[in-house]
C-alpha cells in the first residue's frame, strides 16, 4: 500500500542519515527531523483527539517519545509508519486514560444493528459536506470510532496495525470501521438537519 507523502519529504538516504545523527545526539539533526514531521504528527493528533489543545500537547509528547524510542525503530520499515504508530499509541493511551467509562458504554459494538445504506443518500451526504464539516463530525464520534477512521484513512494503517493499537481482535477492525462510518454519516446528517450551514466549522 502506498503511504501518503509528507510535502518535501526527505529521500530515504537523507532520512537514514538524519536518523543516525539524531541517535548520536546531534541537536541540529533532531531539529531537522522535527521540522520535517511535526506538521504531519500535529495533523494526525488533531484528527485523532477531540480538541486542538490536546493535539498540541500530544504532538510535543509524541516527539519526546520518538526521541526516546528512536533506538527501537526498525529502518527496514517506513519511518512515517513507525511515527504514526508511536503517535497513535500515544493518542489512544491518552484517550483511554481519560474516557474509560465511555469505552465501556460503547464496548458492545460487535453486534451490528446497521441498516443498509442508500447509495444515493450517501452520495448526497458526500456532496453536501466540506472537509472541515467532515472533520467536525469526526470530533463528535466516540474516541475509538474516530481513532479507527483516522488510523485507516489518514495514517493508512493496516488492519493488523489498527488492531494492535486499539487492542482489539483483527476481525473486529472491519466492524469498528463500518460502525464508525455509520456514526459519522449520522453525525453529519444530524448536523445538516439541525443548523444547516451555521454548524459548518463549529468544531474547527
Amino acid at each position: 500500500m502506498e503511504r501518503r507523502k509528507t510535502p518535501g519529504e526527505m529521500s530515504a538516504a537523507e532520512l537514514a542519515d538524519v536518523l543516525a545523527q539524531v541517535r548520536a545526539g546531534d541537536a541540529d539533526a533532531w531539529g531537522e527531523l522535527y521540522r520535517q514531521y511535526a506538521a504531519a504528527i500535529f495533523r494526525f493528533c488533531r484528527r485523532a483527539l477531540p480538541t486542538r489543545e490536546d493535539a498540541e500537547d500530544a504532538t510535543t509528547e509524541v516527539f519526546m517519545k520518538v526521541r526516546q524510542k528512536l533506538g527501537t525503530y526498525d529502518s527496514s520499515r517506513p519511518f512515517t509508519a513507525w511515527l504514526y504508530k508511536v503517535a497513535s499509541n500515544h493518542c489512544w493511551d491518552m484517550l483511554r486514560r481519560r474516557r474509560i467509562r465511555q469505552d465501556l458504554e460503547t464496548g458492545d459494538l460487535e453486534t451490528l444493528p446497521l441498516e443498509h445504506p442508500d447509495p444515493d443518500q450517501l452520495e448526497r451526504l458526500q456532496a453536501e459536506h466540506t472537509s472541515k464539516e467532515v472533520r467536525g463530525g469526526l470530533a463528535k464520534l466516540p474516541d475509538r470510532a474516530r481513532l479507527a477512521l483516522v488510523l485507516r484513512y489518514y495514517a493508512d494503517m493496516s488492519y493488523d496495525e489498527i488492531a494492535d493499537t486499539l487492542g482489539v481482535r483483527r476481525a473486529f477492525v472491519g466492524v469498528l470501521l463500518l460502525r464508525a462510518r455509520h456514526q459519522l454519516r449520522d453525525a453529519l446528517s444530524e448536523g445538516a438537519a439541525g443548523t444547516r450551514g451555521a454548524a459548518a466549522g463549529s468544531n474547527a
Binding site: 543516525a20 522535527y34 451490528l112 484513512y153
Partner: protein, 535 residues
C-alpha cells in the same frame, strides 16, 4: 450468491477478504446492479473520507513551529540562571558568610574568605603552592586507586615504594622543567647530615629521614617522615607519621595520621591529621589551622589558632585568638592567650588554674557533627535547598527531556551505574588535575573541576527521578515526570539530613547518578564513535 451485506462490501473494497470470497463478491457485483451501486458508494465514501482527512486547512500552531528542545530553551535558561543565582546566594549566605563571620569573630582579620584561604595563612605560597597542593591531592587519589588495584600484592612492601616511585615519576615528567629534585627510596630514603639540596626536594619512599638541609620545599610521600635537618622552604607531607624535629622556615602542611612538631616552624602550620602534637619546645610563627581528632598544642604560636577537633588541649602561648569547634576544650595551666577565645562545642571547656586566658566565649550545645534539628531556620534552609534542587532538576527535565529520561532509565542498571560512578568519581578529578599540571593548562583543569562539581550535583536528579518512578510508577507525560522528580528529591533531601548515614546516602546517590549519566552520554556518543571509526 445472494446480495452481500455492507460489511462484506467494505472488507472487499479494503482488500481484506480471502481470494475465493473476493472472487465471489466480484462475480456477484458484475451481475447485480444494486450491489455494484453499494460498492461504488462505499468506495467513494472511502475516498471522500481520505480527502477530508488529508485536507490541510489548519495552520500549525506557533508553539509547535519551534523544535521543542530549543523552544523550551529561553525560559528554561531563565530558570537555570535564576537557579544559579539562587544556588549561589544559598551558598553564599548559608556557608560563606557564616564562615567569614566566625573567622572574623575568632580574630582572623582577613576580610574575605577567599583571601584567607588562598592568599594568606597556611595556604599562601602563590599559585605554585596551589598547584602543588592540587597535584598532591590528585596523586593521593591516584595512589589510593592504584594501591587498591594492587592490594593482592600488598604483602611485598616494596610495591608501595614502586607505586610511589612511579607516581612521582609521572608527576616529575610534566614538572621536569622545574628545578625539583626527585628521590625514590629503596625502600628508605635518608638525606644525610651535612648534605644540602639546593632545590625543592620530592621524596617517595617507605621511610624518609631528612638530616641534612633542604634549601627549598620538601614534598614527601612516606609512611614515616622524620625531619631532623633544616628545611628552608615549606614541608608538604603525606604520611602515616610526620615528625618535624628540625627548623622549618616556611609553612608545614601535613596530611598525616600523626603529626608531631617539636621545632620552630617559621610561618604557619596546617594539619589534617588524626593526632596533632605541638610540643613544648616547638613553635609556630604564624597561625595554626588544624582538623583532627585530638590536638595538643604547646610551645608558642605567633598567630591565631583555628581548630576543628574532637578534643583540643592548649598549653601554648598564643599571640592571636583561639577559635575552636569541637567537643572538648582544655586549657592547661601553661597556656597564655593574648587574644580572645571562642569555643563552639558540646561540653563545658576546662580551664586549669594559672592559665592566662580572658573570658571564654562559648556557644553551647552545638557540635559540628550534630546539626540542629530544631528551629524554623533549619527547615527553611532545607526547604530552600530542596527548592533549588527541584528548580534545577526541572530546568534539566524541560531542556533535555530525552537525556533526563535516558539517564533515569540507566539508574535501573544498578551495577554498571555504580561501577561507572565510582570510576568517574575518582578519574575525573585526577584527569582535571593532571590537565592543570600539564600541557592543557590550569584554566581547562579548573573548568573541568567545576563541571565535575555540577555533574555531581546533577547526578542526584536522576536518582530522584528513578526513586519517584519506583514509588509512583512510570506514567507518561511531563506532569507525571515533574511529580516524580519532586517526590524523589524530597525523599533524598530527607535522607541526607539523617545523622551519620545521611552523608553516605548522598554520596551513594551521587555515585549512582553519575554512573547513569556517564552511561547515557556514552550511549549517545557511541554511534558517533562508530561513525568516526568507520571514516
Amino acid at each position: 450468491m445472494n446480495h452481500f451485506d455492507e460489511m462484506t462490501a467494505l472488507l472487499y473494497l479494503e482488500g481484506q477478504l480471502d481470494t475465493e470470497h473476493a472472487r465471489e463478491v466480484s462475480a456477484h457485483a458484475a451481475a447485480c446492479g444494486e450491489c455494484r451501486e453499494l460498492l461504488r458508494a462505499l468506495q467513494t465514501e472511502g475516498l471522500w473520507l481520505r480527502e477530508a482527512l488529508a485536507a490541510e486547512d489548519e495552520a500549525i500552531p506557533a508553539r509547535l513551529a519551534a523544535v521543542p528542545e530549543r523552544g523550551g530553551a529561553p525560559w528554561g535558561w531563565i530558570a537555570t540562571l535564576g537557579l544559579s543565582a539562587g544556588g549561589a546566594y544559598t551558598l553564599w549566605s548559608g556557608i560563606v558568610i557564616p564562615w567569614q563571620t566566625q573567622a572574623a569573630q575568632a580574630g582572623f582579620t582577613q576580610g574575605n574568605l577567599l583571601t584567607m584561604l588562598f592568599f594568606s595563612g597556611a595556604f599562601w605560597k602563590g599559585w605554585d603552592a596551589m598547584r602543588s597542593l592540587m597535584e598532591f591531592m590528585a596523586m593521593a587519589t591516584l595512589t589510593i586507586v592504584v594501591s587498591w588495584l594492587l592490594r593482592r600484592h600488598w604483602r611485598r612492601l616494596t610495591t608501595f615504594a614502586a607505586v610511589m616511585g612511579a607516581l612521582v615519576f609521572a608527576l616529575a615528567l610534566p614538572a621536569s622543567t622545574s628545578a625539583a629534585e626527585t628521590r625514590h627510596g629503596d625502600p628508605n630514603f635518608t638525606l644525610p647530615a651535612g648534605e644540602e639540596v639546593h632545590t625543592d626536594l620530592m621524596v617517595a619512599s617507605e621511610r624518609t629521614e631528612i638530616d641534612g638541609t633542604v634549601d627549598g620545599d620538601l614534598i614527601v610521600w612516606s609512611q614515616v617522615v622524620i625531619v631532623n635537618g633544616h628545611v628552608k622552604g615549606d614541608i608538604l607531607g603525606f604520611a602515616q607519621e610526620l615528625r618535624v624535629n628540625g627548623p622549618v622556615d616556611g609553612n608545614v602542611r601535613a596530611f598525616a595520621e600523626n603529626t608531631d612538631i617539636s621545632a620552630a616552624v617559621g610561618k604557619n602550620l596546617m594539619a589534617w591529621t588524626k593526632v596533632l602534637n605541638l610540643e613544648q619546645k616547638g613553635s609556630v610563627g604564624g597561625s595554626v589551622t588544624v582538623g583532627s581528632t585530638d590536638a595538643s598544642l604547646g610551645g608558642t604560636i605567633g598567630g591565631d589558632v583555628m581548630g576543628f577537633t574532637h578534643a583540643m588541649e592548649i598549653n601554648s602561648t598564643v599571640g592571636g585568638n583561639v577559635k575552636v569547634h569541637g567537643d572538648y576544650l582544655t586549657i592547661g595551666s601553661g597556656a597564655e592567650v593574648k587574644g580572645h577565645v571562642r569555643y563552639e562545642g558540646r561540653n563545658e571547656p576546662e580551664v586549669a588554674q594559672g592559665a592566662k586566658v580572658g573570658a571564654i566565649e562559648r556557644i553551647i550545645g552545638k557540635s559540628p557533627s550534630e546539626p540542629t534539628y530544631r528551629g524554623a531556620h533549619f527547615y527553611v534552609h532545607h526547604i530552600i535547598l530542596w527548592g533549588v534542587g527541584f528548580v534545577y532538576g526541572l530546568a534539566f527535565l524541560l531542556l533535555m527531556p530525552a537525556f533526563y529520561a535516558d539517564a533515569t532509565a540507566e539508574c535501573k542498571k544498578y551495577a554498571p551505574a555504580a561501577g561507572f560512578g565510582v570510576l568517574f568519581l575518582f578519574a575525573t578529578p585526577i584527569a582535571a588535575v593532571i590537565a592543570c599540571c600539564t600541557i592543557v593548562g590550569i584554566a581547562v583543569g579548573i573548568a573541568t573541576l567545576l563541571l565535575y562539581a555540577i555533574a555531581m550535583y546533577t547526578s542526584t536528579i536522576f536518582v530522584a527521578g528513578w526513586l519517584g518512578e519506583v514509588l509512583l510508577g512510570a506514567r507518561p507525560g511531563m506532569g507525571a515526570a515533574i511529580g516524580r522528580l519532586a517526590l524523589g528529591l524530597f525523599i533524598l533531601h530527607v535522607l541526607r539530613v539523617l545523622p551519620y548515614v545521611g552523608g553516605w546516602i548522598l554520596l551513594a546517590a551521587m555515585i549512582w547518578g553519575l554512573g547513569a549519566m556517564v552511561l547515557t552520554i556514552y550511549k549517545r556518543l557511541r554511534p558517533q564513535l562508530a561513525t568516526a571509526a568507520a571514516v
